[in-house]
């Protein structure tokens, strides 16, 4: 099995270490200048979808062609209920896709990749996705370093990336980093030399099995921007190689996605021929891979951003300053009703009337053009559309189901956006879409372009609903 393409995504907001130091009087994340902050309507699954879509685009692989999905994370929205089910629908993978979920520690990404390379249960094309947004206390280094991001690899029979060697290690180091059942914040005993030993020895156990003398870049697990460099010697790589495979300085600790983000960053450089990818997780376990690029491995990565938030704005997005979804009821769309519309709601699959061929959205009910009730053929829409009309819902004016999001992210736009069908041709259809605004974004103007992205709509009765939202086209990072 080979690596056919790589995708990566980080949220567009950054919280600078200086801003944390100003607010809290301390910032203990070594080697971290800023951390990525998910928007209020992003979570590990929406980030996973963003990265996975980029990997598929980079590899030129159609979602229909994926026959195994491996998802790695330590921060999925549900402790129980497969996240792969949600991710499958966000991406439009076939229902007969084999799936596996990896968690338990930040080594999950490496474990997911190793399982894919083992043949993914006989699969020809495996989509491996690692996505994470760890959280920690405001008075602990782990909390200061906590960032976010997702990386994805398309592993297939053919591809320019050859895995020339791999190894893994499982050691026993309790207490370095853990989260008890039901908790949201990860912590550790902070026994400095013990923690460093656990990282160094466990990683070295795997990396030591490989010939890494020729690597241009070492994409190492990076809980901060210090540990990878401190351990470089023990791993047999030089600091320049570590730097070439690291994004932790500007993204923070991306948990299970950490090394994947470093890999994507390294592969963006044309002269990268050989990369060490090494994941590590507390407990402790590690996986190491030597990737040889026989040709350039295609990458699509949204890694950088200069859109910074104040400390308060970052914590507001996390939900620290609001009381959550208010009582009083919200628009009630039952879960079965929501499920019936996933293709249209998440992937903008419109329909062509079986009687008259007119493009319609949503594809349900009698055809507005010919009144026939013959049903519709699937007609996926393009991701980029044009605003027909829009308004900004002022702060405090959101309906209850969007009140928490508005309190966290600020005002959003409610728009009607015209999208054409993929493959072009005939007319466009009008799709109601929330447009995510950020910073100084104005209400999108009529005729402005927006791009559909996967986001959380809202939670109701404990069940999260995902759907497409719009992002102003100029705010969309490739």
């Amino acid at each position: 099995m080979r690596v056919a393409g790589v995708g990566a995504y980080t949220p567009r907001f950054r919280l600078a270490g200086d801003a944390v130091a100003d607010a809290l009087g301390q910032f203990h994340a070594r080697g971290v200048e800023a951390v990525a902050v998910p928007d209020a309507d992003e979570d590990a699954l929406t980030m996973a979808a963003e990265a996975a879509q980029r990997a598929l685009d980079a590899a030129g692989v159609d979602p229909d062609a994926v026959d195994a999905l491996h998802l790695a994370s330590t921060s999925l929205p549900y402790d129980e209920e497969a996240g792969t089910g949600r991710l499958r629908s966000l991406l439009g993978l076939p229902e007969n896709v084999a799936s596996a979920q990896f968690g338990g520690s930040t080594d999950a990404g490496g474990a997911a990749l190793a399982a894919a390379l083992d043949g993914g249960g006989g699969a020809d094309t495996v989509l491996v996705v690692a996505s994470d947004a760890p959280q920690g206390a405001d008075d602990e280094a782990l909390g200061h370093a906590a960032g976010a991001g997702a990386g994805a690899l398309v592993v297939a029979r053919d591809g320019p990336g050859r895995v020339a060697g791999r190894a893994s290690q499982t050691a026993t180091y309790p207490g370095t980093r853990f989260r008890e059942r039901g908790q949201t914040e990860t912590t550790g005993l902070d026994v400095t030399s013990y923690d460093r030993q656990a990282y160094r020895e466990t990683l070295a156990g795997a990396v030591g099995e490989l010939d890494v003398s020729g690597v241009d870049a070492a994409a190492l697990q990076a809980p901060d921007g210090d540990l990878p460099y401190r351990s470089a010697g023990a791993l047999g790589v030089n600091p320049e190689a570590v730097a070439a495979g690291s994004v932790v300085e500007g993204v923070g600790d991306a948990g299970a996605a950490s090394a994947f983000l470093g890999l994507a960053d390294a592969l963006r450089e044309d002269d990268t021929d050989e990369v060490l990818l090494a994941t590590y997780g507390s407990g402790a376990a590690s996986h190491a891979f030597r990737l040889v690029c026989e040709r350039d491995v295609p990458v699509r990565a949204a890694l950088g951003s200069d859109q910074t938030l104040s400390f308060a704005a970052a914590r507001r997005r996390r939900g620290d300053f609001d009381s959550g979804t208010p009582a009083g009821g919200g628009a009630y769309v039952s879960v079965p009703s929501y499920r019936r519309t996933l293709a249209a709601r998440q992937r903008l699959v419109a329909g062509r009337c079986r009687a008259c061929g007119a493009l319609q959205f949503p594809p349900e009910g009698a055809c507005p053009d010919c009144s026939a009730t013959d049903g519709y053929e699937d007609a996926p829409l393009r991701r980029r559309g044009v605003v027909e009309t829009a308004t900004t819902i002022s702060q405090g004016g959101a309906p209850p189901e969007f009140a928490a999001q508005q309190a966290r992210s600020g005002e959003y736009a409610s728009a009607i956006v015209a999208f054409g069908a993929q493959g072009g041709g005939d007319r466009e259809v009008s799709v109601p879409l929330q447009v995510v605004l950020a910073g100084d974004d104005d209400t999108p103007g009529i005729r402005d372009e927006v791009v559909a992205v996967p986001r959380v709509l809202y939670d109701q009765e404990g069940v999260r609903r995902y759907g497409a939202k719009g992002l102003p086209a100029d705010a969309r990072r490739r």
């Binding site: 208010p326 009582a327 009083g328 009821g329 919200g330 628009a331 009630y332 769309v333 009703s337 519309t341 709601r345 949503p362 507005p368 027909e388 009309t389 829009a390 308004t391 900004t392 819902i393 002022s394 004016g397 959101a398 309906p399 209850p400 969007f402 009140a403 999001q405 508005q406 959003y412 409610s414 728009a415 009607i416 009008s430 799709v431 109601p432 879409l433 929330q434 209400t443 009529i446 709509l457 809202y458 609903r465 759907g467």
Partner: protein, 392 residues
């Protein structure tokens, strides 16, 4: 088919009444309606049609009998739900019952209590008439959907400005300040309206109607009943109704309400009149943009000409075609289920010369225009004054 007449009409004050219930409000409106129809009593009423959205939940099931029995009307009662057009449709159903001969006297009315719920619950209920599965899940509000229409209108018509939206508020507040039944009995300036806090861009607070408690009721009777009485009877010359897709995004235009156009067309045809024959109108101005669209949808002017009509004072109370002399939804208030019947109350009051200080100069033909949601339903009713019919 025989003719139907409005022979009595009454309403509560519109406002916020913590000491009243939806039942007591409705009973008060019924009292006023019966009191206005000399000689008619509860026993003469054959049937009732009641409009309500049911804001707050309350008695969602059997909400019709819940109010008619409380008001002492033990007659077959039907509840009509068409969002803000509920009681406009209730009046239409009453007309159908009378014209068909199944009933001689029908009470048509509506009620809503909107000001007693928590802020969050109110925000929930105010959105229930938007299209729920798609439009609402963009975080759209009721004001937001009309704001999208306003945005599209201002974009389409270079001449139209936000000040034109404010002019609707200025005019309707001026009218409402004279109406003792109105909720917001104060005037506002162009500056007040334009510079008020934004609710949903470009709509400010003054471009939006308030939430309101209130009830209204009208008595619809047959020509046979009228012939044998001394009732002040305004003939229901025409009534037209139309439905459309509930979501704005599902319609071909965002700068017109096609259901209003079709309802008006049907009402004009039935009445044998045209827009030029209308002397005054009560139109559905839930948001300022809605009044501008109404001028065009009802044929009072061409597309894009509504701002000019307004600026020239044509629709002022002393203009050629006064619109919303009651204050409209903007100033009189908008108790959702009562609004349509409340418009008929104003028409009948003016056409029978009962408006006192607010009386228009001998109007012959009045038009009421009532819209549900952002245009999923509309009903237009045309009433003719008794004297224009050759009665007393």
């Amino acid at each position: 088919m025989r003719d139907a007449y409005v022979v009595g009409a009454g309403q509560t004050d519109f406002g916020s009444f913590p000491d009243e219930s939806y039942r007591s409000l409705f009973a008060t409106a019924v009292e006023h309606a019966l009191g206005s129809a000399d000689g008619l009593t509860r026993e003469d009423v054959d049937e009732a049609v009641v409009g309500t959205l049911g804001v707050g939940g309350r008695q969602l099931g059997l909400s019709g009998p819940a109010v008619t029995e409380h008001a002492g009307l033990s007659v077959p009662t039907t509840r009509v739900e068409n969002a803000c057009a509920a009681s406009g449709y209730a009046v239409r159903n009453a007309v159908q019952a009378v014209k068909s001969g199944m009933a001689d006297v029908v009470l048509a009315g509506g009620y809503e209590v909107m000001t007693d719920a928590s802020g969050d619950a109110t925000k929930y209920w105010l959105g229930v008439s938007g299209e729920t599965e798609w439009e609402r899940l963009t975080g759209a509000t009721f004001a937001g959907t009309y704001a999208q229409m306003a945005r599209a209108y201002l974009d389409e018509h270079d001449d139209a400005t936000v000040e034109d939206l404010s002019r609707v508020a200025v005019k309707n507040h001026a009218n409402g300040s004279q109406n003792p039944h109105a909720q917001l009995q104060f005037g506002c300036s162009l500056e007040d309206a334009t510079e008020a806090a934004t609710v949903a861009d470009p709509l400010t607070l003054y471009h939006c109607c308030p939430t309101t408690d209130g009830a209204a009721a009208v008595l619809v009777a047959s020509e046979d009943v009228v012939a044998e009485s001394e009732l002040d009877a305004a003939r229901i010359a025409g009534v037209g109704a139309a439905s459309d897709r509930v979501g704005l995004f599902e319609r071909d235009t965002y700068t017109a309400i096609p259901a209003s156009e079709r309802a008006a067309e049907a009402a004009y045809e039935m009445a044998g009149v045209g827009p030029d024959d209308v002397d005054f109108a009560e139109v559905h101005d839930c948001f300022a943009i809605a009044e501008l669209l109404a001028y065009e949808d009802l044929g009072f002017c061409g597309r894009g000409e509504a701002p000019e009509l307004l600026r020239e004072g044509v629709t002022d109370r002393d203009g050629d075609l006064p619109v919303n002399v009651s204050g409209g939804l903007k100033s009189k208030g908008h108790p959702i289920g009562a609004t349509g019947a409340g418009q008929i109350v104003e028409l009948w009051t003016q056409l029978t010369g009962r408006a006192g200080d607010r009386q228009l100069d001998d109007p012959d033909v009045g038009l009421a225009h009532n819209v549900g949601g952002s245009g999923g339903a509309a009903v237009v009713t045309i009433l003719a004054a008794p004297r224009s019919e050759g009665q007393r």
